[in-house]
């Protein structure tokens, strides 16, 4: 397919489509050239400098990169923390939102009401969200440990424990599985022809068979979308760690983006932070491309 496109178009219809393709994409390209190019180029330039935002940058070549790859224990610590968090979080939130979407894809009475309830947690943000979870996960009087105590289980120290802190953050993520992600899955589920489900019914298949053979393949483009997106988002986790734990305890929640923030705005090493940022981009890009390669084999596109 690709080869056909890149060769000179002889078919006038294809030529027209190509031209229109560029036209439709133009808004983004113009936007990028006007709003995106300068900041991106400058941030790359800064990554090659010592720079504190208010004074002139000092060009130091690859100094920042050399330092963070060879000399900086926090770089590796933060990569580990971020990877761990991503690997645990992404499958859980995708599965959670998907199951929830299947559940609310029923036209029962009052479904609007239920969907809204599921959605509400995802719009709580910032200080309020952090205060709420600091309270919920309080080892002595928080909701979670109180419930565990009913069953006689001594609850962990959650955010205050170097071992449980990252899981605590994953737990926080799970609270918002009814949010936009679920909505997208729901929209995708709406597009599955009911006739396909009827086929499974006739064959005698139950709920699980429908899920496995119809639902998942039919919305696999959207599942794929969210896997890629969630990896990108998880790699950039920041706010919760900044407000609640400040990277602790014992630097167990020192995520990559938090470390970057410290370097950029606390230490005024904007050059170093930019190097961190560009390295992150490369890492995420590689991971995403890998996902695309796997995705080509696994994802089913109706439109193709």
């Amino acid at each position: 397919m690709k080869n056909k496109i890149t060769r000179l178009q002889r078919n006038p219809l294809q030529k027209k489509q190509a031209w229109l393709g560029y036209l439709f994409v133009a808004p983004w390209i113009i936007g990028f050239l006007v709003f995106g190019l300068y900041p991106i180029v400058m941030s790359f330039y800064y990554s090659l400098c010592q720079y504190d935002v208010l004074r002139v940058p000092q060009f130091i070549g690859l100094g920042n990169y050399k330092e963070l790859l060879g000399h900086d224990p926090y770089f590796w610590k933060s990569i580990w923390n971020t990877l761990f968090f991503t690997v645990v979080r992404v499958p859980l939130v995708i599965l959670g939102s998907l199951l929830l979407a299947v559940l609310v894809n029923n036209a029962v009475k009052g479904i609007r009401f239920f969907r809204t309830i599921f959605f509400i947690p995802s719009i709580v943000t910032g200080v309020v969200l952090s205060a709420l979870w600091l309270w919920l996960l309080n080892p002595q009087y928080g909701l979670f440990n109180s419930i565990l105590a009913v069953f006689g289980i001594p609850g962990p120290l959650w955010l205050q424990s170097p071992h449980w802190s990252k899981f605590s953050m994953v737990l926080m993520s799970l609270w918002s599985i009814g949010g936009g992600r679920m909505l997208v899955f729901l929209a995708a589920l709406q597009g599955i022809p009911t006739s396909l489900y009827e086929v499974v019914d006739i064959d005698g298949g139950g709920w699980w068979a429908k899920f496995r053979h119809v639902t998942v393949p039919m919305i696999s483009p959207v599942i794929f979308l969210w896997t890629v997106l969630e990896v990108i988002f998880s790699f950039q986790v920041f706010t919760e760690a900044y407000v609640m734990t400040k990277g602790g305890p014992l630097n167990s929640t020192l995520f990559y983006n938090l470390y970057l923030y410290y370097k950029a705005f606390d230490d005024f090493s904007m050059g170093y932070a930019s190097a961190l940022a560009w390295l992150l981009l490369v890492i995420i890009l590689v991971v995403t491309l890998l996902q695309f390669i796997v995705g080509k084999k696994v994802v089913y596109y109706e439109g193709k």
């Binding site: 010592q50 208010l54 002139v56 309080n138 002595q140 120290l157 400040k246 602790g248 305890p249 606390d266």
Partner: protein
């Protein structure tokens, strides 16, 4: 029909244009007529009970030639806001913050105030000496401290009584603190710690530190430690005093398994769950604003205030920082801003502010704090004495945040037993020194390119 509509439209348009013309011609040009009165903009941070800071209202009321317009910026994002304001070439004329002023001064964001101070013979001795430390950069002063925080030793009288201790006799040495702690520590049936006499905080997040400064630095200061060489180039985090101070903490925590300590500390929170307010920790070093806090959240707590315990033969020490007011470069009326600053730091204003405001910080002007009116409340003398012996918490100005991050990381490693004191402090010192060197060399480079003190 159509003709009528056209005519109506014409009439309406004419009337509209007429009204617009009248408005434009006679719109009150208030601003143009205010050339006699100068206006300056002032930014302070949210979190004070008063909408408009007292000093602004007082200044505006006290004179006619300058009017201060006050704007509150979100406390959590104050740095970004000021940073972008300076970048936009449209900064406020005066700004007040609590962060180390060196962060802005060393990046040429503020105007040096020396010439104002000299010209008006501003009495620098009127301000507590410890507060000046962070106002200085390369021999110039960049801000005037207006408020501060003074820390003293709070203790819970009721818990003292329960443990058989004399509620009027708080500990005077750190060894006594350990003694008292042994009597004040209590456990529940499951063996968990539910109360302690004292807690040496070793983490830095707001909840984890509970507004109490790091015990290790206070003890180290009492020993006379200095963490930075006089020329500001060498970090001396590992020094005998610091090692001794940290050893004290290790000895203090030795009888308790770390997981029990962790579990105990994990129960601290905000509001009435603050460790002292919740009566979980009987003795704590807390700021002068704490009585107001207790009044709101835990009025039933019976407490006393005393000077910080000391190491035998050594003076007390305390930690402090200040709310300062400075003039960003690019300010359109620095003279007016300076008048405002002088007024805010003056003895009378400081006294008035302290009396008038409901919850307030500590005045930076020691002539105000030595006034009998201020000392009416007997507790205040303690805070004044503490502030006289205080050290600025801006220990390594050019690597401030790195210093404290590494400091707390080292503390955690030591408390958890992961590293020895020398190891942990050594690692921290290496990292801080490295960052300091980078910052200093960058600073040198910039000076060859940008002219700092010859401007304005």
């Amino acid at each position: 029909m159509k003709m009528k509509a056209g005519k109506t439209l014409k009439i309406l348009t004419t009337v509209f244009l007429a009204i617009a013309a009248v408005l434009i011609l006679f719109y009150p040009r208030g601003r143009a007529h205010q050339t006699r009165q100068r206006t300056i903009s002032f930014w302070s941070c949210t979190g004070q009970k008063e909408e408009v800071p007292f000093i602004v209202m007082a200044f505006n009321a006290a004179q006619d030639s300058i009017r201060v317009l006050s704007n509150a910026i979100p406390w959590q994002e104050q740095e970004k806001k000021v940073l972008t304001a300076i970048l936009s070439d449209n900064p406020p004329d005066a700004v007040s913050q609590f962060i180390p002023i060196v962060k802005w001064a060393s990046r040429m964001a503020l105007m040096p105030l020396d010439k104002f101070i000299e010209r008006d013979q501003f009495d620098t001795t009127a301000i507590f000496p410890a507060l000046w430390q962070e106002m200085r950069w390369q021999g110039h002063l960049f801000g005037i401290p207006v408020s501060s925080a003074s820390y003293a030793f709070y203790y819970n009288k009721k818990l003292f009584r329960q443990a058989g201790l004399d509620p009027e006799r708080p500990p005077q040495t750190w060894d006594e603190v350990i003694e008292y702690n042994q009597k004040l520590t209590r456990y529940d049936k499951a063996g968990n710690i539910i109360q302690m006499g004292f807690f040496p905080f070793y983490r830095s997040s707001l909840v984890a530190s509970q507004n109490s400064p790091a015990t290790a630095t206070i003890i180290a200061w009492e020993f006379g430690a200095s963490f930075l060489s006089a020329d500001g180039k060498t970090v001396t985090l590992i020094n005998p005093a610091m090692v001794k101070a940290t050893q004290w903490i290790v000895d203090f925590l030795k009888p308790y398994p770390i997981n029990k300590i962790e579990a105990f500390a994990a129960g601290f929170g905000y509001g009435d769950q603050q460790a002292f307010a919740a009566e979980k920790v009987a003795m704590m070093i807390l700021p002068n604003i704490f009585p107001d806090y207790l009044r709101i959240h835990a009025p039933h707590v019976e407490y006393g205030i005393a000077l910080t315990p000391t190491m035998p033969g050594h003076p007390i020490a305390s930690s402090t920082g200040s709310w300062w007011i400075a003039i960003p470069r690019g300010s359109k009326d620095p003279e007016a801003a300076w008048e405002f600053i002088k007024y805010a730091a003056s003895k009378q204003t400081q006294l008035d502010a302290y009396i008038a405001m409901d919850q307030n910080l500590f005045p930076a002007n020691r002539t105000a704090t030595n006034d009998p009116l201020f000392l009416q409340d007997g507790k205040m003398q303690i805070f004044v004495t503490q502030l006289e012996h205080a050290h600025s918490s801006t220990i390594v100005p050019m690597a401030h945040d790195v210093f404290w991050r590494e400091f707390y990381t080292a503390q955690e490693q030591i408390v958890y037993g992961n590293q020895s004191i020398e190891q942990a402090l050594g690692t921290a010192q290496t990292i801080i020194q490295y960052e300091l060197n980078k910052a200093l060399s960058y600073d040198e480079y910039v000076r060859t390119r940008m002219n700092f003190f010859d401007e304005k």
